[in-house]
Symmetry: C2
Subunit: 319 residues, 2 copies
Amino acid sequence: MDGGIPRGEFGLIDWIRSQQQAVRRQGTVVGIGDDCAVLEFSPGSKVLVTTDMLMDGRHFRLADDGALAVGYKAMGVNLSDIAAMAGVPRAAVISVALPPENSVAIAQGLHAGLKRMADRFEVDLVGGDTNAWNGPLVVNVAIIGETTVAGAVGRSGAKTGDVILVTGPLGGSLFRGRHLRPEPRVREALALTEAARIHAMIDLSDGLSSDLGHILKESGNLGALLEAAQIPLHSDAIEQSQSDGIAAIDHALHDGEDFELCLVCSADTAIRLLGNSPGGTVLHPIGEITALPGLRIRDSHGIISCVQPRGFDHLRAPD
Amino acid sequence: MDGGIPRGEFGLIDWIRSQQQAVRRQGTVVGIGDDCAVLEFSPGSKVLVTTDMLMDGRHFRLADDGALAVGYKAMGVNLSDIAAMAGVPRAAVISVALPPENSVAIAQGLHAGLKRMADRFEVDLVGGDTNAWNGPLVVNVAIIGETTVAGAVGRSGAKTGDVILVTGPLGGSLFRGRHLRPEPRVREALALTEAARIHAMIDLSDGLSSDLGHILKESGNLGALLEAAQIPLHSDAIEQSQSDGIAAIDHALHDGEDFELCLVCSADTAIRLLGNSPGGTVLHPIGEITALPGLRIRDSHGIISCVQPRGFDHLRAPD
């Protein structure tokens, strides 16, 4: 296309195809340009699949953030779900509904952002569906991955007495736009599951209180006691707290879109992992699984209070 | 939930999970309720993945069609892409952006429609992403399938002298709402590829002129000569022609959303397939692949004219 603006859907698809590397990554048998992509995985591995949709005004603001940032985030949040299962991401398919103004430029920016994130994790963009409409921008990504010999880590394996850990500081992801720059913990999850048996894992997309709640519920309605002083606070949470008067710990518990992992393992395993940091993975122990259901937190004075999950609810009325 | 309205995103997810059968289909290791679904396929098979997004006002009209019909179509159009590769559909992930009014009822209707179509093809709904926003309804489906020993049939294998066939009558899919009731030719594609070597195949979603054009382009810029009298006209195309004055053959060539298969095979194979109709598959030979590039059509007087592809362009300005 020589820098020209591709015309129509098929022109755009040709342009996108031209942006892919000439040699497809191993495992992609048929990529963009057919009715389906064809993938070939390692014998014995299982297939992982996840999907996330991002809408203008809800998960990003196109006018402020730009299409490239939107694409980067859209791919990142899906990779984070593969990380949460300790999977290896392999290929992605993308659907977009483009607004009427600047639709081709938006599609190109999106693609650049999607590809920038995908390339960091050696993920092929193998197909998609490009549409125009009179509504705001909507981007959907579905990622296919595979499990390693360690198997997939679900949400249901937590046991009473297990230690809860997170891979990084939490809170305030909206304040400086960090939610647009997720760091999917794919390599960290693979290093952790290669080194030890992780009982349960989830990525922090909706907020610690909500996401840890899923592990507790799926593990047979267990509970957790968090130690407030041990929850790593992101500098964004501290800054935002100074600006909005909401305690930084509440930002850390409820904001979401940190895209760190929250994992649960036996105390012995936790001690070993904290000692050798597999793959350089940063780990913060933040509390313990309890037989008593519900999420509680102990403050620096030893006072325990209940935490109501109020992380991001995708059905909450939009602002 | 005992017939009550599920509250919030997680209430809705619980409701959807409760609608799935207690026993998962073979191959679904982890379904709804984790970060990813985990699937296990037959050893040696390849993985197929496809995605399609449907937007209110563009692919359906929610107020007229209802959420159930939208879900049914959204699943059907994706199954049709699996059929076009002669694959076996296995599992689907769904993303929705729900409008603010009646969002839970819409989600439930959508799910019923998605599941009705998925059940017909033994496809598991294994995960998704449910969102609310202030925009119109958007539904995205991604389907994972696998290939059979016959392998995937792509678009690039057509050869000069090959016969072009379609699996049913074409045109007028919008006129009586038939576009909402696709019949994905999954079983037909499997029967055909089990019985014979198909050189190229595509499903008729954008219109014969446009979709056959993809086969011609991908097969090395070949051409095709269609016989107008042999193209099966749907009764909808004939009725619509009487209403709008556009020739029924033009509806058949350009309307799209027929979701029949267009396949290409050698003349010997075509004769054999027409003789024994594998799996009861209806087949209509409609023309021949030519070395001369471009799509042409011969009318009943023997006059040949060029056909410009003008099927559904997803980037065409919406009505």
